[in-house]
């Protein structure tokens, strides 16, 4: 009957059942626990993505400057590559204008040189250079959450 010890393994049927169900319960609990911790990391958030597409590389020929007002970014294209500079003044967050010698904030007169380095006014820091990359579909992407060292330019392959 069931109480008989198995000849080879030395384990009774009752012990096997007990262990098996205990094991199932432990694995299930661990999985549930793992799932619970997984919930702390959201797949997506209810907010605008910091990464956005700005169009194909052809739309930014060398020597052009494009200002994306609603995103607060300048896209500058030079012979040696394309780069993005934040247009948000580091003082109080106004959108800066481009002028002959660099960038000027219309609100409190902060001034930045052509590389976004602060050269006057109340601004505490320089304008950030933002990461610009090429997506697999061939369009350029800017991520306002990722800043890059001044002078980092994306060289276009095309």
């Amino acid at each position: 009957m069931s109480n008989e010890t198995h000849e080879k393994t030395g384990m009774s049927r009752r012990d096997f059942l007990g262990l098996a169900s205990l094991g199932a319960a432990v694995i299930s609990s661990l999985t549930v626990l793992a799932g619970t911790f997984r919930m702390f990391k959201a797949n997506v958030r209810y907010e605008e993505s910091t990464k956005f597409k700005i169009g194909k590389a052809e739309e930014f020929p060398a020597g052009t400057v494009k200002k994306l007002d609603d995103k607060g970014v300048f896209i500058l294209s030079k012979d040696d590559g394309i780069y993005a500079i934040s247009a948000i003044c580091t003082h109080l967050g106004c959108i800066v204008n481009q002028v002959d010698w660099g960038f000027q904030c219309p609100c409190h007169g902060s001034r930045y040189n052509e590389h976004g380095k602060v050269i006057g006014g109340p601004a505490p820091r320089s304008l950030e250079w933002l990461e610009i990359s090429e997506a697999v579909d061939g369009s350029l992407e800017v991520d306002t959450a990722k800043s890059v060292p001044v002078g980092t330019k994306l060289k276009l392959y095309a």
Binding site: R14, G18, S21, A25, T31, V32, V44, K53, D137, G138
Partner: protein
Amino acid sequence: MRNRFFLWILFLSGAVLFVFTLIAAYREIAPEWKRYQAQYKEQIIKLAKDDATKKKAKELVPAVQQIYLGTLNRIDRCMSCHMGVENPMMANAKLPLKQHSGDYLKNHPPDKFGCTVCHYGQGRATNKKEAHAATRDTHWDFPTIPLKYIQSSCTQCHDYEMLSAKGYDNIAKGAKLFMEKGCRGCHKLNGIGGALGKKLDVVGSQPIAYFPMRFVEGDRNTYNWHKQHFTDPRALVPESEMKINVKPEETDLLATYVLSLRAGEMPKDYRRIKGTQTVEKPDEGEALYRMFCIACHTTGKDSYFDEIFNRTIPAIMKPAFLKTADEKYIKKVVEDGRAGTQMTSWKATAGGLTGVEINNLIAYITKDRPSAKPERFDFAGFKTDLKRGEELYNIRCALCHGKKGQGGEGFLGLNLRNPVVQGADPEFLAITVRDGRSETSMPPFGKKGVGFTDRDIADVVSYVKTMSKKK
């Protein structure tokens, strides 16, 4: 014995829980969209022409793709599966990875417009069934719209002229049909139209619950409802009195048009409207007739017994009618309607037509008026006898017009109790009784017909004029 029983219970419940958690974990780890993103990655690596693209494709990490559209109050995650919509490399790929057709995305970047603003569907869903929402168990009012109706989304921002110029003329064609098939005879749009049918102002945004879906064939959604309702209204709404006179291929155009009548407005910086965006009210007589009258009165040349209304619809443009009916009488009918029938009142405070428009309409209706005037009757010259009139009426008129003059529904003759007949000039009524209405069921009762004397006619008419007081 007892111990073993509980061990079995523990074993079984443990196993069931185990299986369910495994399924839940699998669904969490391997959702539908991850499969498509893996396919996308694989295809890009295969199709990549240069190493840089290949390298980037290899770096792709599966993630829910989301477009957050604050101003449109939408969140679209469609691109979690439709990865290739913006990628020219995927032009020949299979759905869902295929590139978006045409060059629509050039002027409508998904970052700004998303997908559901044109295509409908549940943007926040992350699996096909719930995102496309075709079946009822997804409880979504606007499933992805079939492409044959997709142009109904364009008018949210564009006018008919611009769309037609680019070849997207389904709505403009549908709007033309709407104007020429007399839909507004029963349905109000922008406050103008008849009162028999429902208002159409935001019918394209009405939820599924607004429509009786019971008899819809196929998926029960508003798109199929409109299409099938234009094909046969009474198949979906058995008690409907709607008249429909369109070719089968025109039902799609009309459905596209009514689906474009939506609630709410797109934000200003999305709109590009310069020309017409909805049907206007014409002021020219023939166009007015087509917009408001043609559904019931058809050509206006022949009266017919309508099976659905269960009454005769008069031929208002026939010379025989126009010979006796003067402008004043027709204008009264148009302005006040005929109470108790389907004929609506069209004055500014009801149907919404201005005096000028009614005059233009009447000028069109009466264009075939014969120049010969009917012979005068001179009703005022008779001293009438109501009692005699009642006797004559009961013998001669009651069969068609009813004992109480109720006429209309189920009778060959029309209702004589309604305000228009009661308020009409007795001279006009007497001439009608004397000469009849040729080509209708109303015979001439004068000397040339039944043989009434003028005195008989005057008595009957005077009796008829008192009928509204009869119980």
